[in-house]
């Protein structure tokens, strides 16, 4: 089976997201927002509840579970490296974030659960799988740090808006049509386990 590689400008629109199929590969240009923090995601939900403002505009964003090492030099934030973290940790937060912020792309590594996949289908959102252990290659795609939010948090918990060029390739793990590679493979593996094969 041959796979399609798309080069696309982010943040992704809902219609762009719906063009992608699970298993496709994507090379990312443009703007993304990243964080690797569990406390950060809890704080996002507080923002949705009106307890505090979002650190930057996240509506329609491409929000990825990517950690980063950022440091401030001469008033400028510099990102030394980025790398994905396990997305399933954010399963409880993602359905609301996807629906209420109308996210059209999210991702990290390891996938998301069915509740998130359902929200993704409604919002027109894809999940992109980044290479775990891709630190050196992924970091080379950073062009500019546009904004760093919540600098009171650990560097990889911060919310960072980045301009990237040629980030990836990443794999569409869950598409906007309800196809979830992780769930499908997991089900097949469980069937295999039951049959003892």
């Amino acid at each position: 089976m041959s796979i399609t590689t798309h080069r696309m400008t982010f943040p992704l629109s809902a219609s762009d997201a719906r063009k992608l199929r699970a298993g496709d590969q994507v090379i990312i240009d443009g703007e993304i927002i990243i964080t690797a923090g569990l406390p950060t995601h809890a704080r996002f939900l507080d923002c949705l509840d009106g307890k505090e403002p979002f650190p930057m505009n996240l509506h329609g964003a491409s929000l990825f579970h990517l950690g980063s090492y950022s440091r401030e030099t001469e008033g400028q934030f510099e990102i030394l490296y980025i790398n994905p973290t396990t997305s399933t940790r954010f399963n409880p937060h993602m359905p609301r974030l996807i629906r209420e912020l109308q996210l059209h792309a999210t991702g990290g590594k390891g996938g998301l659960d069915e509740a998130s996949a359902q929200a993704m289908q409604e919002a027109g959102c894809v999940y992109l799988s980044f290479l775990g252990g891709g630190c050196t290659l992924l970091s080379q795609a950073i062009e500019q740090v546009l904004e760093v939010g919540w600098t009171d948090m650990l560097t990889h918990y911060r919310v960072v808006r980045l301009r990237v060029k040629g980030l990836g390739p990443v794999t569409v793990g869950i598409d906007a049509h309800g196809n979830n590679l992780y769930a499908r493979i997991h089900e097949a593996a469980q069937e295999q386990l039951k049959s003892g094969a």
Binding site: Y81, G110, S129, L131, G133, L137, Y182
Partner: protein
């Protein structure tokens, strides 16, 4: 002559840094072999990017993964080894100095489990175990830092007089539960028997074995091959997005015990962090991996 404080401090710090910036040779070779066998195109491409990523990190002296994990050392102390100065303190100081000087700097992953506070230091860090080697005039040090993605999915169960299929099924259940999350293709370590704590230690040590080496126990040779085949049939593949390269190796250690048989399973991600050196009484330092 003796093994000095400074030697241990420098070697342990150096092993940790190298484990973050390069993957072991056997692991690179296993990834290359997996990519030539992989039937899923996405999986094959992912394996190729893994190799490219590891090579880029090595040549640029950058990090393979941003999660530098927590430092873990396995120390084999020769009974004829002579020390000048404190050993544990040397490891602690080496780690502290490395954290302060390494480029690029590391993210603070050492977490206090009671308060969830993070930093570079904490109670019991670095995690170090000591064993004796009869007659040797050296200290053999392996560094295998453990990060969140692969550390999270280890499991241990205690059975009563289990048969071999029961043990295999527990390994399979653990692998299926972990799925895409420990960054496959993984190296899987299994410890069977002994006691609760010892089974886990055996499983950890099993992950350190060189890929391609043969288990001295014939029953386990078969079990390793059978499990590897079953695991690669699950279909998770590289990074869990499909393929037949879910595991590079299954390594099993065992120990006699009672009729209660603990079985421990743990994972190393595709980076398979592992560096190793020996420090001799005469001042020689031999880098083994």
């Amino acid at each position: 002559m003796a093994i000095t404080f400074e030697m241990i401090k420098q070697v342990t710090a150096q092993l940790y840094e190298r484990s973050l910036k390069q993957i072991p040779d056997d692991t690179r070779q296993a990834l290359v072999q997996a990519s030539s066998r992989e039937t899923n195109e996405t999986g094959r491409r992912t394996l190729q990017i893994m190799i490219e990523s590891a090579d880029a990190a090595r040549s640029q002296q950058s990090l393979v993964c941003s999660d530098s994990g927590v430092p873990v050392y396995f120390m084999q102390i020769g009974t004829q080894a002579q020390f000048e100065g404190n050993v544990k303190q040397a490891i602690e100081e080496g780690f502290a100095e490395l954290v302060a000087t390494i480029n690029p700097p590391l993210l603070p992953h050492v977490t206090n489990p009671l308060t969830l506070e993070r930093g570079y230091q904490g109670k019991g860090m670095p995690i170090t175990t000591f064993d004796l080697v009869d007659g040797a005039d050296y200290i053999d040090i392996t560094c295998s830092p453990k990060a969140l993605g692969s550390g999270r999915w280890a499991a241990l169960e205690i059975f009563s007089f289990p048969d071999l299929p029961t043990i295999e099924n527990f390994v399979m259940e653990t692998v299926v539960k972990a799925g895409s999350q420990p960054c496959p293709p993984v190296v899987i370590g299994v410890g069977i028997g002994g006691s609760f704590d010892y089974a886990a230690k055996m499983a950890k040590e099993a992950t350190l074995r060189q890929i391609g080496t043969v288990n001295p126990e014939p029953i386990l040779v078969d079990m390793e091959a059978h499990l590897l085949e079953r695991i690669n049939k699950t279909g998770f593949g590289p990074m869990g997005t499909g393929g037949d390269s879910t595991s590079m190796a299954v390594h099993i250690n065992y120990c006699a015990g009672h009729g209660f048989t603990p079985v421990a399973v743990c994972f190393n991600c595709w980076i398979n962090r592992r560096t190793r050196a020996r420090c001799y009484n005469d001042g020689r330092i031999q880098m083994l991996e």
